[in-house]
């Protein structure tokens, strides 16, 4: 791996320094003093949780700022040319030809009103002089299509964006970004929303094109494993500043900033079932940054001086810098130290699904699905988008009633709709929704939200309900002060914990969780996973855990059911299925999965 920290100001390369973005009206800093260097052919992975400012940095590299923000200071030098100092006309000329951008949502990056071929050609014709003499626009279009692994046939070029799959759209967007052979390409979470197989292909494409054309790629992501797979250097953003930056393998193997270490400890591994370690609390909001280190309130290594002054980025290793007064000691971080996830005994079936067939309109979306949920265990249902896993969950809890087959809970048959079920049954099976921002009533306090099922299922008086709310809050590791807060004062992870707490107030036997960690940052996801694990062990709660994240499955679940196209293609204990998958679909899912553990192995 390269040692970039020692590089003298090069004539070629990307050099960002002092990049600062502020709010227009009050000049509140959003991103402060971001600096990094990159050499041709390298990929910089920029990781951070939601709100860390990584997307703001991404667009600032092109001299742009979101509405209400402005770039207050800094340089973005590409081969010694400062992009931010260019006059507007030249800056416009530079975008696309010197530096280009791939947005997060490929659907939004392409114009729905024009054919794909038209848009690819436009990327080449708006700037003069991007093509070498002798190469026509059409030649280049076919060339870049081949590069991104799309068939270079006229039929594809004649299609509109909506006639392409998400993965194809993203590859067209990448082809457009590479078409004019810019020096720098900024990719803003280009694989979020794609399934692992497509993600794998997109990553490979970016990696290969970066090397072949000696461009410099900045790859923004919240997913450590993805960044580990693609990046040469990694920059970790926290609360608008760089927390740590360094060569990828070194940074993941030996993180020095406590936040980086925390992120790695929070990320589940798909190859080893370990417990996870989350990071409590939430980053400070722009405008409320403390005088000292932004991470101080969540850091377990915090000292008085951390709160007094803001640490500078200091060199902590070869090419590795961290913004910390008391970094993790060199070489002491061990990902393998994490304790293995505990075993759970099999105590028989609590929920049995046989021959479940579900329809959406005339279409059959689940075909004869059989599942056994064992008491006190966690059964994960995995599959890619469209595999029918959410429909399955909705059938079981009564949100989707167009199904037939047999579902029995402790040998009692369950009807399709809530009103076909007894009150007892409705209490025994509780559901937690995917989106924590929609599942709580925004007009009720957290306490009132949690109390709501008690009002319906029990005859407890006010006092008793209040006591119950407090005990449930402590069960999901929130202080009793949360009872009086409103949902919009909580972070996504806290809301999701409240939603889990609400489901637990009536002491159900089974908890059905529909992608409940997918909207959460990894540090928060870890907290939630550990809480579910504790509930499972302490209360004997049975979990049906719907997810697309195989790493979470490995960490939390004991049994797994793999769905493909509405059919169960494989099922069994997690150990067996994930370590030795027998079905080709499961094998493919696993092979394409990026994993931190693998990088670790490569580095050592």
């Amino acid at each position: 791996m390269s040692t970039l920290g020692a590089v003298a100001p090069a004539t070629t390369g990307l050099r960002v320094s002092g990049l600062t973005v502020v709010g227009k009206s009050r000049r509140t800093p959003i991103v402060e003093d971001v600096a990094f260097e990159l050499r041709p052919g390298q990929v910089l992975g920029m990781v951070g949780e939601s709100g860390s400012g990584k997307s703001t940095v991404a667009v600032a590299l092109l001299g742009l700022a979101r509405r209400g923000l402005q770039i207050a200071a800094g340089e973005v030098r590409i081969d010694e040319r400062d992009v931010l100092a260019l006059p507007p006309g030249q800056l416009r000329e530079a975008r696309g030809s010197l530096i280009s951008y791939v947005p997060q949502d490929p659907g939004a990056g392409l114009n729905p009103g024009h054919r794909v071929g038209w848009q690819l050609r436009e990327a080449l014709t708006v700037h003069r002089g991007v093509l070498p003499a002798g190469q026509s626009v059409d030649d280049r279009v076919l060339e870049v299509l081949a590069e991104v692994g799309l068939p270079a046939d006229p039929e594809l070029l004649g299609r509109y964006p909506h006639q392409l799959s998400g993965g194809q759209q993203q590859r067209v967007a990448i082809a457009m970004a590479f078409a004019a052979r810019p020096r720098v390409i900024v990719l803003d979470e280009p694989t979020t929303g794609l399934d692992v197989t497509t993600q794998r292909r997109v990553l490979d494409t970016v990696r290969e094109l970066t090397a072949r054309h000696q461009v410099m790629s900045v790859y923004i992501s919240h997913d450590l494993a993805v960044v580990a797979q693609i990046a040469d250097r990694v920059a970790v953003m926290y609360a608008g500043r760089l927390a740590e930056i360094g060569p990828a393998a070194q940074l993941f193997a030996d993180p020095r900033h406590p936040y980086t270490a925390g992120l790695i400890a929070a990320a589940p591994s798909a190859v080893r079932a370990t417990t996870l370690e989350g990071i409590e609390g939430r980053p400070p909001r722009p405008g409320a940054w403390p005088a000292g280190c932004g991470f101080a309130d969540r850091c377990h290594r915090v000292q008085p001086d951390c709160r007094a002054t803001l640490p500078e980025l200091v060199t902590v290793g070869a090419g590795q810098e961290a913004r910390c007064f008391h970094p993790v000691e060199r070489g002491t971080f061990k990902i393998a130290d994490r304790p293995a996830a505990p075993q759970v005994p099999d105590r028989g079936t609590v929920l049995e699904v046989r021959n479940l067939v579900a329809h959406y309109g005339a279409r059959e979306v689940l075909h004869e699905v059989d599942i056994d949920l064992r008491a006190g265990r966690c059964t994960a249902v995995v599959g890619e988008s469209g595999s029918g896993k959410t429909t399955l969950a909705r059938c079981l809890v009564g949100l989707h009633d167009r199904w037939h087959g047999s579902v029995t809970f402790e040998d009692v048959a369950i009807g399709p709709r809530p009103k076909d079920r007894s009150t007892e049954l409705r209490r025994q099976i509780q559901y937690v929704f995917q989106n924590p921002y929609a599942s709580l009533n925004p007009r009720m306090s957290v306490g009132q939200n949690i109390e709501e099922p008690l009002r319906h299922f029990t005859r407890l008086d006010r006092r008793a309900r209040r006591d119950r709310v407090e005990s449930v809050l402590s069960e999901v590791a929130l202080s009793t002060a949360y009872a009086d807060r409103m949902p919009d004062q909580l972070s996504g992870g806290e809301r999701q914990r409240v939603a889990v707490g609400r489901a637990l107030t009536v002491e159900p036997e089974v908890l059905v969780c529909d992608e409940i960690t997918s909207a959460l940052d990894v540090s928060v996801q870890a907290l939630l996973v550990e809480q579910l694990r504790r509930l499972q062990h302490e209360r004997g709660l049975s979990l049906l855990f719907i997810t697309h994240n195989l790493a979470v499955v490995r960490s939390l679940a004991q049994d797994v059911v793999v769905l493909e196209g509405g059919r169960v293609v494989e099922h069994g204990p997690v150990e067996t299925v994930l370590s030795d998958p027998s079905h080709s679909y499961t094998q493919k899912l696993l092979a394409d999965l990026p994993d931190l553990g693998r990088t670790e192995a490569v580095a050592s």
């Binding site: 809890v397 009564g398 949100l399 809530p418 009103k419 079920r421 009150t423 409705r426 209490r427 559901y431 929704f433 989106n435 929609a438 599942s439 709580l440 009533n441 925004p442 007009r443 939200n449 709501e452 099922p453 319906h456 299922f457 409103m486 949902p487 919009d488 004062q489 609400r502």
Partner: protein, 307 residues
């Protein structure tokens, strides 16, 4: 100080519960809202405090018919020689009470229809909302005139008819809002526990609709006033001799040449009231939803149906 308060509101960490209070505060910070409120309050004060200070009784003969203004009768006299000022002061209370009653009734009816349709879905929704569409096809005043000219004009019928004429618009607004709310996970979650629909609607759906309902109430109140005074103008709903702004405009048209105040005074009061409530409602909607959506709500849905 004002900017601080605005920023505090924008930060969004304030309690959602105070949505209406916040919108009210926002409305009172804008000139539109302040002027509207002053106009409406002035007329309300005149209508409710007027009877206490009226110099004459409604039917006292104070001067020759249609006299211009003079001592003891500052706005002149009407066609029967009665004091215009006293009749303006006396002629608003019943009108306003009826308007408030019919608006309240319209809100209850419209909300019930809208929210039931949105929550039940299926055939119930189709039936209710197509019924609403049919009623919407009638201009409000034409509908009210049709009913009162066929069935007569007892006060309760007048209130009921005006309410029925207004309810469809409210049902529309409530239905649109409730459709969105009913789809939200927190409503679904409660329904999954088997909570009866009435309770789900009352505890979880309606509170989220309080802001659009408040806007709708202000808007409909303005229209109710206009419809009822319009009916009075046409001679429906009032006994001869009873002072009422709508009736006065009609009665005193003949004497306009010699005493214009007989028409101008009640017309002015009605106009100030209608414009005032509309301005304030508009300011409230802007504060509650932001400029763009307020235009849709108040101006879009309102003006098309103005009689």
């Amino acid at each position: 100080m004002t900017t601080e308060a605005v920023d505090a509101g924008r930060r969004g960490n304030r309690r959602e519960r105070g949505a209406i209070r916040r919108a009210l505060r926002g409305a009172l910070r804008s000139w539109r809202g302040r002027i509207g409120l002053v106009m409406a309050l002035a007329v309300l004060a005149l209508a409710f405090l007027g009877p206490l200070v009226a110099p004459h009784a409604a039917t006292d003969f104070v001067a020759l018919p249609s006299s211009p203004r003079g001592p003891g009768y500052p706005l002149g006299s009407d066609g029967l020689g009665q004091d215009v000022l006293s009749r303006v002061l006396l002629g608003g209370r019943k009108l306003l009470l009826l308007a408030v009653l019919s608006t309240g009734l319209a809100l209850v009816l419209g909300t019930l229809i809208g929210v039931t349709a949105a929550y039940r879905r299926g055939w119930a929704e189709t039936a209710l909302m197509r019924g609403v569409d049919v009623l919407l096809a009638f201009p409000q005043l034409v509908f009210v005139l049709l009913v009162v000219s066929v069935l007569g004009t007892p006060t309760w019928l007048l209130v009921l008819t005006v309410a029925i004429a207004q309810a469809p618009q409210i049902a529309r607004v409530v239905h649109a809002g409730a459709q969105d709310i009913c789809e939200r996970d927190f409503v679904q979650a409660v329904a999954l526990w088997g909570v009866p629909p009435r309770q789900v609607i009352a505890r979880h759906v309606l509170p989220s609709l309080s802001t659009p309902l408040a806007v709708e109430a202000g808007l409909r109140l303005g229209f109710s006033i206009v419809i009822i005074s319009g009916l009075n103008f046409l001679g429906f709903g009032v006994q001869p001799g009873t002072p009422s702004w709508g009736v006065m405009i009609n009665e005193n048209r003949l004497g306009m040449a010699s005493n214009p105040w007989g028409v101008v005074a009640p017309a002015l009061v009605l106009a100030i009231l209608a414009i005032g409530t509309n301005l304030f409602t508009d300011a409230f909607a802007r504060a509650a939803f932001g400029e763009d959506r307020a235009d849709d709500t108040v101006i879009g849905s309102g003006m098309g149906a103005t009689p």
